[in-house]
């Protein structure tokens, strides 16, 4: 554990309190962008983006579309108030040297705190914009930023980190609101992601190691409904929409009437053990052993392979009645499993 990481729960709480203190903080006066909204920057932008909408470059087209004149692309909003290369470089240098830069905002200060806490990586997660009016040529935009929220520590796919939501309020030369932008980033500790830990789930009992996830099903247009259904606690069986025959595993067409049309039937979840095994070896960390697995024959007639839960491996018998239960084996995978049917 590096010195930069909070060492105890008390430290964790203190750290969170430091972060939470940033919520609601705002820079004092709105900062004015360096340039008025201008055609040259717009043209560079739309060319780079490959956006051929004429309302950004052609006065007539803009008016024909109901605008007062050429407008700036909405996605360009932040470009008008960027502080420029020199200021950004100064900020980065100050960060590297561990001092506060001249002109640093509360957001910059928050970044600094998170860097110190070991949350050194950053990724933008989402951005919402809301316009009061279009931005037009000649507008002088100013911005004031405030930190709306700092989340508690979250485990994400990328790593353990905090989500930070910043609100930028854009105003024009008259001080009238033009637009707001809500911008969310994740500051996270590198190397703590689920992807680097080979997609880890809850730890194995008695082990510090995160447990590897079960193998993923390869999802296709033909089979995805089954796993989507399981997440909604439904055991779905593919049904031919023409002749009504049920089929499992799913196929893109009906082998009886050749129809490509199908829907699904929600099975009752009652069935019997048609055959079963108890897996002992090789042992893969994603599973608990001995692992009883059955071919279950549903009362609707189709069979499927499923894990047995709540039954001692020695007590499994061919023909025993079982009922479905849905087990979320990890965040993304829910599987229908079967347990003993109530007497």
């Amino acid at each position: 554990m590096s010195a930069a990481e909070p060492a105890t729960e008390v430290d964790d709480e203190k750290f969170l309190a430091r972060l939470k203190a940033f919520e609601g903080r705002t820079v004092g006066a709105p900062t004015e962008g360096p340039d008025a909204v201008n055609q040259a920057m717009i043209r560079h932008w739309v060319e780079a983006m490959g956006d051929e909408n004429p309302v950004y470059v052609d006065e007539q087209a803009a008016r024909a579309n109901g605008f007062p004149g050429i407008i700036a692309p909405p996605t360009m909003l932040q470009a008008w108030i960027m502080r420029g290369y020199k200021a950004t470089a100064e900020l980065a240098e100050a960060r590297a040297e561990g001092r506060r830069a001249v002109g640093a905002s509360p957001a910059d200060d928050l970044m600094h705190v998170l860097d110190e806490g070991g949350f050194t990586s950053v990724v933008a997660t989402n951005c919402e914009q809301e316009y009061r009016r279009s931005v037009v040529l000649g507008d002088r935009l100013s911005v004031s930023s405030s930190i709306e929220s700092v989340s508690t520590e979250k485990q994400t796919g990328l790593g353990i980190g905090h989500f930070i939501t910043t609100v930028l309020a854009f105003t024009d030369a008259a001080g009238e609101p033009v637009a707001t932008m809500r911008f969310r980033i994740l500051k996270f500790r590198p190397g703590t992601g689920k992807s680097t830990a080979a997609l880890s789930g809850p730890p194995t009992a008695g082990s510090e190691e995160p447990r590897p996830l079960r193998p993923r099903p390869a999802l296709t247009h033909d089979n995805a409904f089954f796993f989507d259904g399981a997440r909604q606690q439904k055991l779905l069986v593919q049904r031919c929409a023409s002749c009504g025959i049920l089929r499992h595993p799913p196929r893109p067409a009906c082998a009886v009437c050749r129809s490509f049309e199908w829907d699904t039937l929600e099975a009752s979840g009652r069935g019997t053990v048609y055959s079963y095994v108890v897996v002992h070896h090789p042992q893969v960390a994603a599973f608990d052993y001995p692992l009883p697995v059955a071919v279950v024959e549903l009362e609707e007639g189709t069979r499927l392979v499923a894990d047995l839960v709540g039954i001692e491996p020695d007590a499994v018998e061919i023909g025993m009645p079982v009922v479905v239960t849905f087990v979320a084996v990890d965040d993304e995978l829910t599987l229908p499993m079967f347990g003993p049917a109530p007497a």
Binding site: R214, A218, L219, V277, V293, T302, V305
Partner: protein
């Protein structure tokens, strides 16, 4: 079933296996798979009395990592007019000979090499299953979606599901599976090429061996091996002029059944048949004009013991559900009604994906087997079970 008239395969009885060659069988070959393939092919050519210049066709498994042109280039084989690969793992074994015989009988090629070589033990091991398989969303990977997330990751686990139902339906016991292992190991014990040479087992050993996937014990499962095996197929006419007595290809066939899966055909009306082996068996009998009573020995694919019982029934050596009595009577052993896997099988000799069993069939026909079946006229050889498969009847040249 189609109403076609009696099948005739033009290669049946007109083609032969003229050469066999193999590397040693081990747990760590210490050399590349390409070298194993090359050594095996070279040995088979030497055995037949042919040279690289005679070869114009090559067949292997799609699972093999040694492309035909790599082996050809390494050995100095020149122009190829026929090359082919067969899918479905061990189900391809006899199908390599099937395809070679078709090529020879149709004049597409004169001398076809069939080969299979791998470091299945020291390199990539099948027994470790599919856990690392990335789920690229294609049909082949999607078929694992119904097994891998549930923890059925290995061939043993897939076959065990059949075995449990078979025990339930037929009244066979784990000991009946064990009798297959005991017979294999008895034969391996007297075969110096076998990994388990001089290491026979008892039924008690089988029963005491640990569970792999219930109802399969460790000793129900074949070993994992490194090695290579090659076979030379040519016309019977040409084979008669070569170095060895020809092993006549009396019949060869492939088979996949309705509702076929890769070792997980759990959705058929019942799980106590192997319809794909039935498809093979019907062709073997029909095109050879032979019947089970004309067969004196068998090489039955034995990656897992239960499917040997299924095969005895599908091939017609006994009725459905009666394989247990057939094995209890000692019929798989030397001196029995159908000495089976006389080289030790894949449990006892080596697991070379069924191809070493074809070589044993050839040795039985040549009367050069270490456990020779006296008076043998015809022997049946089968390929991987639970998957689309294949089979052969090899016979003495008369």
């Amino acid at each position: 079933m189609s109403a076609r008239s009696a099948r005739r395969h033009t290669f049946a009885g007109t083609t032969a296996i003229a050469g066999i060659g193999a590397t040693e069988f081990s747990k760590d070959s210490g050399r590349s798979e390409l070298r194993l393939a090359t050594e095996a092919v070279a040995a088979a050519l030497d055995d037949a009395g042919l040279t690289a210049a005679d070869v114009d066709g090559m067949v292997t498994f799609s699972a093999d990592t040694n492309p035909e042109i790599e082996v050809a280039r390494t050995l100095g084989i020149g122009d190829l007019t026929f090359f082919s690969r067969i899918h479905y793992g061990g189900g391809a074994a006899c199908a390599t000979v099937h395809q070679a015989a078709m090529a020879v009988a149709t004049g597409v090629a004169d001398v076809v090499v069939c080969y299979r070589a791998f470091n299945e033990r020291s390199g990539h091991r099948f027994g470790t299953g599919v856990q690392g398989r990335p789920p690229v969303p294609n049909a082949e990977n999607a078929s694992f979606a119904w097994y891998a997330p549930e923890g059925l990751l290995t061939p043993a686990s897939w076959v065990a599901m059949f075995a449990q139902r078979y025990l339930h339906a037929t009244g066979a016991t784990s000991e009946d599976f064990g009798r297959v292992a005991v017979a294999d190991r008895a034969h391996a014990a007297t075969n110096p090429r076998a990994w388990f040479y001089e290491k026979p087992i008892t039924l008690e050993d089988h029963q005491a061996s640990r569970w792999i996937v219930e109802p399969l014990h460790l000793l129900d499962c074949c070993q994992e091996s490194d090695g290579g095996q090659a076979l030379i197929v040519t016309s019977l006419e040409r084979a008669r002029d070569l170095a060895q007595a020809p092993a006549v290809i009396n019949a060869a066939a492939q088979g996949a059944g309705a509702q076929q899966d890769m070792m997980t055909s759990y959705y058929r009306d019942d799980m106590t048949h192997l319809p794909e082996m039935g498809v093979v068996a019907r062709q073997l009998w029909e095109t050879s004009g032979l019947a089970p009573a004309d067969i004196q020995g068998a090489i039955l694919y034995d990656h897992f013991t239960p499917f040997v019982l299924y095969q005895l029934e599908e091939l017609g050596f006994c009725q459905w559900g009666e394989a247990k009595e057939f094995v209890r009577d000692g019929n798989l052993l030397m001196g029995g009604l159908l000495p089976t896997n006389t080289h030790g099988g894949q449990l006892g000799e080596a697991y070379i994906h069924g191809t070493n069993g074809i070589a044993e069939g050839v040795r039985q026909v040549r009367t050069t087997a270490v456990n020779q079946i006296s008076g043998l006229e015809h022997i049946v050889v089968t390929a991987g079970t639970g998957v689309p498969t294949s089979g052969l009847i090899l016979g003495v040249d008369r």
